[in-house]
């Protein structure tokens, strides 16, 4: 690529940023990162960072796929996933006269309560498997920001793409869902960092794998950039 790759606002500069948000999903960057044409920004509530995510012109997007009968990459457990997204919207969007982003922090306890209420029966242990699976799926696609360690959830940066028609539909959905109990959040984070901040199994395995499968993983390095397409796995809000 030529030198204009680094020229802010240049064509190659825009193309590289777009390729990044398409391959990895919305990106969290420093607030002083220059604007990129066509990428919208969602500021974190504390102003420490912003998310960048793509916007499309009117008439472009997933809607055309249905007309053509050509489905997008399938979402696993689509109904359960959409239900959990709807429940999180109910828990995390208390001021429904305003935008959904950034909303407030909700808890797993709230989600379980609304889920059981929606089913019209007491909470069951099997609910948790379905709920956690859906939360992970929605976190991976940036519809939610799910903190599994603390059991807390927020709406993800993708919700900034919801316009007035979507928000109107979601308001109606929240109205018919049971009201969540008040959130009991985990105590304020200890300013002292955890002395052993989760050297997770994943890291250990990744290290071992990196050593022993170096060649194989190197093989995929270049290819992954060609392939990974987080957009493809995005859950459509229309499914809710």
């Amino acid at each position: 690529m030529t030198a204009d790759a680094v020229v802010e606002g240049g064509r190659s500069y825009n193309a590289l940023w777009w390729a990044k948000v398409q391959s990895a999903g919305p990106l969290q960057v420093s607030p002083d990162t220059p604007a990129v044409a066509g990428l919208t920004r969602a500021a974190e509530p504390d102003g420490s960072s912003v998310w960048m995510l793509p916007t499309l012109p009117q008439g472009a997007g997933h809607a055309v796929l249905e007309e053509l009968g050509t489905p997008p990459v399938a979402v696993e457990q689509p109904n359960e996933t959409a239900r959990v997204l709807a429940i999180c919207v109910t828990c995390c969007w208390p001021d429904r006269s305003g935008p959904a982003w950034p909303g407030v922090v909700g808890t797993l306890t709230q989600i379980k309560a609304v889920y059981a209420g929606m089913r019209g029966r007491p909470e069951q242990s099997s609910d948790l498997t379905l709920i956690i699976g859906s939360l992970r799926r929605l976190h991976a696609t940036h519809w939610l920001l799910w903190n599994e360690k603390d059991g807390e959830v927020r709406l993800g940066p993708r919700v900034v793409s919801w316009g007035p028609p979507q928000l109107a539909g979601l308001r109606e959905l929240c109205r018919v869902l049971p009201d969540p109990p008040p959130a009991v959040l985990s105590p304020a984070r200890n300013p002292e960092p955890d002395p052993d901040p989760l050297p997770s199994d994943a890291d250990a395995i990744a290290t071992a794998t990196a050593t022993d499968l170096t060649d194989a993983t190197a093989t995929a390095t270049a290819t992954a950039t060609d392939l990974a397409d987080a957009e493809a796995s995005a859950v459509e809000v229309e499914d809710v």
Partner: protein
């Protein structure tokens, strides 16, 4: 979504309403459909002039049209963009996900291709990779399960229809988004990994001093 679009408006504003609709439909179809779409289905792909507009839109966002089987189209990352991002160390997939993906590609494509069962340079294959073939002492079963879930969600692998020996996997639809140069890079690197001392690996190294820097210039 807004009426004005900072990136695409300069391209779209010169088109008639009808052409604009056709171009946006074709753009959306190649970008978001899981599988390549038939050229015959969309005027934006059938008509060479409109297709050129689709290609211009894709170029603005680092993508390019990829033709599949002569009659279908999809979109993938433009070679120069993939090359630049790779050189910058951009890597959206974890090392475990990449390892599991490569194991599926080895069993479903590379081995059948070396046996002459698969021909051509496509990474599409009906030969399933069983869970047994994915077992390695380096990745725990839980980590493998989560990785398979992520790779399925991204469309990089998919469940095969053959359930006779438990769940098994084949390459996912996203592999069809690889450009010809990207398909060759993947093939070259699998050879370098599987048979680094072979004459063909020597030839690949001679052609491209760096494994990730071998797209045509």
């Amino acid at each position: 979504m807004s009426e004005q679009h900072a990136l695409f408006d300069s391209l779209l504003q010169d088109l008639s309403d009808r052409s604009r609709d056709e171009v946006l439909a074709a753009f959306s179809a190649v970008q978001y459909a899981a599988n390549p779409v038939a050229e015959v289905q969309l005027a934006g792909l059938r008509d060479v002039t409109l297709r050129r507009q689709v290609q211009k839109m894709l170029k603005l966002i680092g993508r390019t049209l990829v033709q599949v089987d002569g009659t279908h189209w999809t979109a993938g990352y433009a070679d120069d963009v993939a090359e630049t991002l790779t050189a910058q160390g951009w890597q959206p997939l974890s090392v475990v996900d990449r390892a599991v993906l490569v194991l599926v590609l080895v069993h479903s494509v590379a081995i059948p291709r070396s046996e002459g069962i698969l021909t051509g340079d496509s990474w599409k294959s009906a030969r399933p990779t069983t869970v047994d073939e994915l077992r390695t002492t380096k990745i725990s079963s839980e980590e493998r399960r989560l990785s398979l879930q992520r790779l399925r969600a991204a469309g990089l692998i998919q469940l095969s229809g053959d359930h006779s020996g438990g769940p098994s996997y084949i390459p996912g639809p996203q592999l069809q988004r690889l450009t010809p140069a990207a398909r060759r890079r993947l093939q070259d690197q699998l050879i370098l990994a599987a048979a680094p001392a072979s004459p063909i690996a020597e030839a690949i190294r001679a052609r491209a001093p760096l494994p990730t820097n071998n797209s045509p210039t």
